[in-house]
């Protein structure tokens, strides 16, 4: 049974050389791929296009020039400040390109990138500008002006209406140089159900092809109810911020996918002023999505017949995905614990600060009294630092892990799609086989009329039934074979793209997290340095 794209499926790609080669070949043969591996969103050329580049010691897939797309707010309490359009994007895209070995092994190191490293917005660049390196290819391309940019930000959450019918409306702003959009900069307002509606449309169209569809953020009845009811406390503000950030990441992932970006529904979502209200989004609630995903893995597990050696790749890859999902869940639980303990530390510090202030107020010696109240203020500042750190712990680490746990679920769905196509092919083939056997029997039984009928059935000769699009079983089988080939190629390509993205994403986030810690320590130094003269002033 043919199932490959006309090439030899590579052995399990833990060898980076072969990964590069297979990726290139997959791209060449893939009909659906129309952007040739260029990551339009980031504007950087991804390496698969350079089939001649010999991968050197580093892993070239994770080492290409990359841009941190998602913004993590380091500002005080995370509520997105109302800013001008331009400022939005300096936050939304901090250009931090990492690494890079060129094919010649040269490395270019330049200073902080011009556009986005706005030090006033991004406090973590206080100490030193981020180290930026780019490949010579990228630098050349930047000069040639071939790059297309697409930046998306989700901001300005606003409550519309009152009571249980209220909802949050978000501003979705796009800044782009892509010609397919009407304008360079534009924004629309969308509500949560619009995002779910977008997912539904994308999913309906692309999942059958074997694409990995980024899952939307989860619904939360509890969270939203608080907001609707009008509780103005910090937990509902936190909920809104969490959701806003999740929606932003969701859109950024969608447009990062080359095929999805071309989808007119996506364009409409970004551009069109008024969208028809999406209904039936209940099925896409968190538990619903999860059920769907779990059914996917069950279906795949039932699949016992192996087609060819390429199946090994898929089988072991799926196993990998499932294992990784479990491990990430545990990792997420550990990070969750960190977030909670940090929040506890926060509140304990605040309480301590107050008790120090009380002690200071009782102290008879006036200089000591003042010093103690200053100490209380230092502890207060530390509480704020802990708060910010908790914020980073959550948005940089915890949400990243949560996203990837769901994304891995989407990857499993993708595998299921392939299995469905395979099953359809199987069924058609078995039907064709039965009909052939019937024909052979008739041949032996020498019943010419029936024989002719059987032959017609099998061959490509058209029959009279009007509704029959795939007129014969043979043509059906051919069609399904082609479908399966295509899906297999797509899934493989998608998985490789996903893995690349994932490694890059994780790396970027860890870097960002380390920056947040660095920032915290720096502020800590400043805090204590400010207190020292106060301590010395005690007489």
């Amino acid at each position: 049974m043919s199932g490959s794209c006309g090439r030899i499926p590579p052995p399990f790609p833990d060898n980076e050389d072969q990964e590069a080669e297979s990726d290139t070949r997959v791209l060449d043969s893939d009909e659906d791929d129309d952007d040739e591996g260029e990551d339009i969103f980031t504007g950087a050329r991804s390496n698969p296009i350079t089939p001649t580049s010999a991968p050197d010691e580093g892993d070239i897939f994770s080492e290409e020039g990359s841009y941190i797309r998602s913004d993590v707010h380091h500002a005080t309490n995370g509520l997105h400040p109302d800013e001008e359009e331009l400022d939005l994007f300096t936050e939304a895209t901090v250009e931090l390109t990492l690494t890079n070995t060129t094919s010649q092994g040269r490395r270019e190191i330049i200073g902080p990138t011009a556009s986005a490293c706005n030090t006033t917005q991004v406090p973590n660049s206080i100490l030193k500008p981020s180290i930026v390196t780019k490949t010579t290819e990228e630098l050349e391309e930047e000069e040639s002006g071939d790059q297309f940019e697409l930046n998306i930000a989700v901001t300005n959450p606003e409550k519309i209406g009152d009571g249980m019918n209220a909802y949050m409306s978000y501003k979705v702003s796009t800044q782009t140089t892509l010609p397919m959009f009407l304008n360079k900069t534009f924004s629309v307002r969308r509500r949560f159900s619009d995002f779910l509606g977008l997912y539904e449309k994308i999913s309906a169209k692309h999942s059958l092809l074997g694409c990995i569809i980024p899952p939307p953020p989860q619904k939360s009845v509890v969270g939203m109810t608080k907001v609707k009811v009008g509780k103005e406390d910090s937990s509902s503000a936190e909920f809104v911020e969490k959701r806003r950030a999740a929606l932003e990441r969701y859109l950024q992932r969608v447009v990062a996918h080359p095929s999805l970006l071309q989808d007119p529904d996506v364009r409409e979502f970004l551009e069109r002023d008024e969208l028809p209200r999406a209904v039936n989004t209940q099925t896409l609630s968190g538990p619903g999505l999860l059920k769907m995903i779990n059914r996917a893995s069950d279906a795949v597990n039932k699949m016992t017949i192996k087609m060819n050696e390429s199946d090994n790749w898929f089988e072991s890859k799926l196993q990998e995905v499932e294992n990784e999902e479990q491990l990430l869940r545990r990792l997420h639980a550990a990070v969750d614990s960190l977030v909670n303990h940090r929040k506890e530390l926060c509140s304990n510090t605040a309480v301590f600060s107050k008790s120090v202030a009380m002690l200071g107020s009782v102290e008879e010696n006036s200089a000591l009294s003042r010093a103690l109240s200053q100490l209380a203020e230092v502890e207060d500042k530390m509480e704020q630092l802990h708060q910010q750190q908790a914020f980073s712990d959550f948005f940089i680490l915890a949400e990243l892990l949560a996203d990837y746990i769901r994304l891995l679920g989407a990857v499993r769905c993708c595998f299921e799609q392939r299995m469905k196509v395979w099953q359809r092919l199987q069924e058609a083939q078995s039907t064709l086989q039965k009909k052939r056997e019937a024909e052979a029997k008739l041949l032996w039984a020498n019943k010419p009329e029936k024989l002719q009928q059987a032959k017609d059935d099998i061959n490509e000769v058209k029959l009279s039934t009007a509704n029959d699009k795939h007129n014969t079983w043979e043509s059906k089988v051919s069609q399904y074979e082609r479908d399966f080939e295509r899906v297999t190629c797509t899934v493989r390509k998608e998985v490789l793209r996903f893995e690349k993205e994932k490694a890059r994403d994780f790396k970027q986030h860890i870097v960002k997290y380390l920056e947040s810690l660095l920032h915290t320590q720096h502020r800590l130094v400043k805090c204590w340095e400010a207190f020292l003269p106060e301590a010395k002033a005690i007489a």
Binding site: T99, S355, W528
Partner: protein, 393 residues
């Protein structure tokens, strides 16, 4: 067997050796099974001592014995008695130590470090106790104090004898001290009235601050532990992975392991300086309150003696005795008031000085360590980027 040389301790300690004529320190301590043995080192030019230098081994119980004998000494009723050092607390690590002795398990580096820290802390409080005694004009002349510093044998026998003699009488009385102070005798002296109010208020607030500081430190240590768990989970995820991602995860696990130390150190620093300071003064304030209590008792005794005298005069019986009693009670009360005033005044000054010193030391330590941590975070950040791109291994 765990030995700590406190000279090597990174944390500066209280040092109350103001006077070169009697200098005491605890240069090292040995943690053996469940006992801590302190080496008490004395250098003196005082003629009352037989030798100019001593080095003796003492246990925590010896310090308690010394404290109790001083508390029970009538002569010192008008003085603030330096608070007894708390018992060394090695609960968790102690079990480990037991096991170590039996060759069952080995201590991790962390556990060892924790024990070492606890040991340093306990050395600090025991040392301060002795230095408080040596820097006080009356206590430094105490006979038992000298024995404590000089006697080169085990003090166990002495301790047992002392227990039989005193039976902890005074200790039991002190428990209800607060109630007496609050509800008790009407105060005539403005100074003592103010002191009473101040000490009661301050006492509750410093206890509160100490408790809150301890809670804060615990949650900080929880954060540090979480980094450890995250590091472990990262390693597990890396072990299962066969792509380039694996390398990132491993590097990440390394970094988080290091971050654990960073956070742990942050928690420890604050604890060592600030929390210990608060704990110490909570005890010291109690000692000051005890003085007020003793004075209040003396006042009560005096007032009772007045009543007894009046009664005796009415009855016409035992008047001389009652008069004598009253005179003595008044003398005692006056002595306590006079010495108490001096003590409480110098206590204020001492408290301010100690807070100043410790807050400065704490702040300098925090700054120094925060700079180191900042540098470390910078390096981890840099190294992580470079290592992931294969530029550095």
């Amino acid at each position: 067997l765990l030995q700590v040389r406190t000279a090597d301790s990174p944390h500066p300690r209280f040092d109350l050796n103001n006077d070169a004529s009697l200098v005491i320190d605890i240069p090292d301590a040995l943690c053996e099974r469940d006992k801590v043995k302190f080496t008490v080192h004395t250098k003196t030019t005082l003629s009352s001592f037989q030798k100019p230098e001593y080095s003796v081994q003492r246990q925590h119980e010896d310090f308690i014995w010394l404290h109790d004998t001083i508390v029970e000494t009538e002569e010192y009723a008008g003085l603030i008695i330096p608070p007894a050092p708390p018992k060394p607390d090695f609960e968790g690590p102690r079990e480990k130590m037991h096991k170590l002795g039996e060759g069952e398990s080995s201590m991790t580096k962390e556990e060892y470090a924790k024990m070492k820290q606890e040991l340093e802390k306990t050395v600090q409080v025991h040392e301060v106790f002795l230095q408080r005694l040596s820097s006080h004009p009356m206590f430094r002349k105490d006979r038992n104090f000298q024995i404590f510093l000089e006697y080169d044998q085990d003090l166990t026998v002495r301790r047992k004898n002392a227990k039989e003699m005193f039976g902890g009488f005074f200790k039991n009385m002190v428990k209800s001290a607060d109630e007496v102070l609050i509800s008790g005798v009407k105060e005539v002296d403005e100074f003592f009235e103010q002191e009473k109010n101040f000490l009661l208020d301050y006492s509750s607030k410093i206890k509160d601050a100490t408790a809150k500081a301890e809670k804060m430190t615990r949650s900080h240590k929880n954060v540090a532990d979480d980094y450890n768990h995250i590091s472990g989970a990262l390693n597990n995820t890396a072990a299962d992975n066969n792509t380039a991602f694996k390398k990132h995860l491993e590097k990440c696990a390394e970094v988080f392991e290091k971050l654990r130390k960073v956070e742990d150190r942050m928690a420890s620093d604050q604890e060592l300086k600030l929390t210990e300071l608060l704990r110490y003064y909570t005890r010291d304030i109690q000692a000051a309150k005890d003085l007020l209590y003793r004075r209040a008792r003396a006042l009560a005794d005096y007032e009772n003696s007045n009543k007894a005298l009046d009664k005796a005069r009415l009855k016409g019986k035992d008047v001389a005795q009652a008069e004598e009693n009253q005179k003595q009670c008044l003398q005692k009360f006056d002595k306590l008031s006079e010495s108490g005033k001096k003590e409480l005044t110098s206590f204020k000054a001492r408290r301010v000085v100690a807070f100043r010193k410790n807050l400065i030391e704490m702040t300098e330590l925090e700054i120094k360590h925060a700079k180191v941590r900042r540098l470390k975070c910078y390096v981890y950040h840099y190294m992580f980027i470079r290592q992931c791109s294969g530029i550095l291994i």
